[in-house]
């Protein structure tokens, strides 16, 4: 059985779905691993590294004889079409933004797994690529904030005067937000944070940051995610947050609601109220932006001297470790339904749709799109 990792074709995507040091986990199961030449170039994995790890490196069309295709970004509809029937793909594959790829997969008779849809149950934590990539994004957000800010993060009392610590505000304290809090605090900033989920107050405090209590109802949705908020509540939340935003030197926003536009946490007016030199890091820029005016992949400077960094492929900006973590997620998912080679038994895939994880993550199977989730 042949597991194939093609080069990522999306612009700006610097991760790779398998890094050399996990390949032995697959070969040990009895799988052949084929890597498209140059697939690891941005994540510091050379073709030679892959070969040394036990994979075959090939150029040209690698997909046509693949049994399993592992990738970060969804395969394009074209790529899906070249796959043989019954092939399996594992990648990010959002039912919302990658509908065309899903359709292509269904019509090609491919079983496509979407990492976005791996259920957030304890057993699936090792396959949870959303979490692992959010971790990278959160760290990155804080580092970028520090890099862009004209100020020090830590407090320093020196012979030339006392540098006061930066005030960092984190909006949305999920996985990425908590990691951003941790990183900013490590650098010495004074961090406060807000989130709509009731559990987040304790979580924020457990990171040593201050939680901002607003007199608003909590919004807890299914699976530990947030629910979408009404426009009225959104306006109220923005109003209450304004004073906190005004005194911040760096604002990091990470708010998201699964399958929806990112909630709008800051309007243009709020941005304009900020002092020159303030930095806003909007990790949600790609899904509509938490901040009005943010553009994915750009740094927008407002007339008031505020700079808004719009995230785009943020985990790709930490390609080595993002790939490292992503590979393990993918391998863990693949291992879940692989029966390893044993004695004269050959390696086989065993898709048990009774399994909550397989059932949840598979978007297409046997030529059809699976029930809406």
């Amino acid at each position: 059985m042949r597991v194939v990792v093609p080069r990522e074709i999306k612009d700006g995507e610097k991760r790779v779905a398998l890094v050399p040091d996990v390949i032995n986990k697959l070969t040990r199961l009895g799988l052949d691993v084929v890597i498209e030449s140059g697939a690891g170039v941005y994540s510091q994995a050379t073709d030679a590294d892959f070969t040394a790890a036990g994979a075959t490196v090939k150029s040209g069309d690698v997909l046509n004889d693949a049994d399993v295709v592992l990738s970060v970004q969804p395969l394009s509809p074209q790529q899906m079409a070249t796959l043989k029937k019954g092939a399996i793909t594992i990648s990010f594959l959002s039912p919302v933004t990658a509908a065309d790829s899903i359709d292509a997969a269904a019509s090609a008779g491919v079983t496509a797994f979407s990492l976005e849809l791996v259920p957030r149950i304890s057993r699936a934590q090792s396959m949870d690529a959303l979490t692992s990539q959010a971790l990278c994004a959160g760290y990155r957000a804080a580092v970028v904030g520090a890099e862009l800010s004209p100020r020090f993060f830590p407090m320093l009392m020196t012979a030339a005067g006392t540098v006061t610590p930066a005030q960092v505000l984190v909006l949305g304290a999920g996985v990425a937000g908590l990691q951003a809090i941790a990183t900013a605090r490590r650098l010495g900033a004074v961090v406060s944070a807000y989130d709509v989920r009731p559990a987040s107050a304790d979580e924020v405090r457990s990171m040593g940051a201050a939680f901002i209590e607003l007199e608003l109802e909590a919004l807890e949705g299914a699976g530990g995610y947030a629910r979408e908020m009404t426009e009225e509540r959104a306006a109220k939340q923005r109003e209450l947050l304004t004073p906190y935003i005004a005194k911040s030197h760096v604002v990091i926003t990470t708010a998201a609601v699964p399958g929806r536009q990112a909630p709008r946490l800051m309007t243009q007016a709020m941005v304009d109220s900020m002092a020159p030199g303030t930095i806003i890091v909007d990790l949600a820029a790609e899904t509509g932006g938490n901040v009005e005016g943010s553009k994915p992949g750009e740094i927008v400077e407002t007339a008031g001297g505020v700079r808004i960094w719009g995230g785009k492929d943020v985990p790709s900006q930490l390609p080595f470790h993002a790939s490292f973590l992503y590979s393990r997620n993918v391998v863990n998912l693949l291992s879940l339904f692989t029966t390893p080679a044993k004695d004269d038994q050959k390696v086989a895939f065993n898709l048990d749709f009774e399994d909550e994880i397989i059932n949840g993550a598979a978007v297409t199977h046997a030529g059809a799109r699976r029930g809406a989730k």
Binding site: I121, S122, R123, Q125, S126, T131, S132, L135, V175, L178, Q179, A182, R186, A199, D202, E203, R205, S206, M207, G208
Partner: protein, 463 residues
């Protein structure tokens, strides 16, 4: 042997007992203390065979009987003490205490018979005291023994009008006691003994299982006092000193025990009467857990060779990272092998424990991943679980269908002892109960992790 020498040796034995108690109060010297006590007791027993005074000469009368009785005592006592299982030691101590009380009562009775009319009032008063308290100690201890050995119910035994019956018995004991003092005579003394035995039974019956150790300690102190009283009657400084020491230290110890268990002495003894019966029943429904004090935890840690610290979300909530490091450093400085076992999803964020522990500057090489640490729990003396729950919950391996089923866990259940630091019996993130909390190997230290750790550190330093 001259009387002075005899007395001096007796005093030496008394000093040995003081040193024994002193030694027993410290883990490091406890064993030696016990040996010193045994030495003192042997010495005292030995010299009594060489003791002469105006009205007696060597060898002792009834020497054969005496030696034979000692031999019988040895044949019964030593094997019983040797063979008993760890878990049954408390009831054996209760039994030993009871027979000691019985012996004191018998000694008083014999001496009374012997003295006859020669006895001074003071002597008679002390005799009466010894008989009453010795008998109460004897019968009370037998009941506690039966409770602990589960030869009878461990629940408080409440009977209608119980308190009146007990009060009545007590009054008659005192009344007969007064009668003996006034009119002397063997019969009243035997009646007194009988009534005291009855009172001892009635006194202990209403005490609930968990409070029994406190009662044993109290009866132990009582027995000490009877020995002191016998010492007065027999004119033996040694018995006075030894008995008083046990009486005093036993009283303090009883108070300390009651405090350590969070109970008042009064409540223990009379609680069954004041509390409503259904309360007692309801309390009986709860599953028992073993909760300890910071001292207990410190001692467990101090005598361990390998300790694994398992941090969880609670450590972060309590912001106890600096304190846990202090504890680890302290253990390392004592030559204990310490590792942190980090579960990949401990806390609420990937790497949560790393962030915390890095803040406290815990060296990276003390952190062990789950796969690395799990095989070592078999050789781990103590696993100390600090504000973690789900990540050590065996339900993940044993209970298909529960929310965490299939998640790999830190297998602390393979460690020889498990200590949990948490605030309550509440479950963790996944909301499912953790069977490990009820494991007999587990000791719970309730309270905020930071506060608890601080106490453990102090206790460990004091050792």
């Amino acid at each position: 042997m001259s009387h002075t020498l005899y007395d001096l040796i007796g005093l030496a034995a008394g000093v040995a007992f003081i040193l024994a108690l002193k030694g027993l109060s410290h883990p490091k010297t406890a064993r030696r203390g016990n040996l010193i006590g045994a030495f003192g007791a042997s010495l005292a027993t030995l010299v009594v065979f060489f003791h002469t005074n105006e009205d007696s000469s060597l060898p002792l009368n009834n020497l054969g009987w005496i030696l034979g009785a000692i031999a019988i005592g040895l044949v019964i006592g030593v094997p019983a003490a040797r063979k008993v299982q760890m878990t049954q030691m408390p009831q054996l101590v209760a039994l030993f205490n009871g027979v000691g009380g019985g012996a004191a009562a018998l000694v008083a009775i014999v001496e009374y018979l012997n003295l006859g009319d020669k006895a001074t009032t003071a002597e008679v008063i002390f005799t009466v005291f010894t008989v009453i308290v010795g008998c109460v100690s004897f019968s009370g201890s037998i009941i506690t023994f039966m409770k602990l050995q589960e030869l009878m119910t461990t629940r408080p035994v409440i009977f209608p009008a119980g308190r009146f019956i007990i009060a009545a018995t007590l009054v008659s004991v005192l009344g007969v006691g007064g009668w003996v003092v006034n009119s002397l005579g063997t019969t009243p003394l035997l009646i007194l003994a009988g009534l005291s035995l009855l009172f001892g039974i009635l006194f202990v019956l209403p005490v609930g299982g968990a409070d029994v150790p406190i009662v044993i300690s109290l009866l132990n102190a009582f027995t000490g006092l009877t020995v002191a009283a016998s010492g007065y009657v027999l004119d033996s400084t040694l018995l006075i000193i030894a008995g008083t020491l046990v009486g005093a230290s036993g009283t303090i110890l009883t108070r300390l025990m009651a405090e350590a268990m969070g109970r008042s002495l009064f409540g223990t003894l009379f609680g069954a009467f004041t509390a409503k019966p259904q309360d007692a029943a309801a309390a009986g429904e709860e599953r028992p857990v073993r909760s300890g004090s910071p001292d207990d935890v410190a001692i467990l840690l101090n005598y361990a060779r390998r300790v694994v610290i398992v941090p969880g979300f609670g450590l972060a909530v309590a912001q106890a990272q600096h304190t846990v490091r202090e504890l680890a450093d302290l253990m390392i400085s004592k030559g204990i092998d310490v590792a942190y076992g980090i579960h990949p999803v401990a806390g609420r964020m990937p790497g949560h424990m790393n962030v915390l522990l890095a803040e406290a500057n815990v060296p990276y090489d003390q952190l062990a991943e789950m796969d690395e640490v799990n095989p070592t729990f078999g050789q781990t003396d103590v696993a100390i679980v600090i504000g973690a729950n789900d990540v050590v919950n065996p339900a993940a391996q044993t209970t298909p269908g529960c929310p965490i089923y299939g998640m790999p866990i830190l297998e602390v259940n393979h460690a020889a002892n498990i200590i949990f630091l948490k605030r309550s019996m509440r479950p963790g993130f996944a909301g499912i109960e953790n069977e490990l909390l009820y494991d007999p190997k587990t000791m719970l230290l309730f309270g905020d992790a930071k506060a608890s750790l601080t106490k453990v550190v102090s206790a460990l330093k004091a050792l």
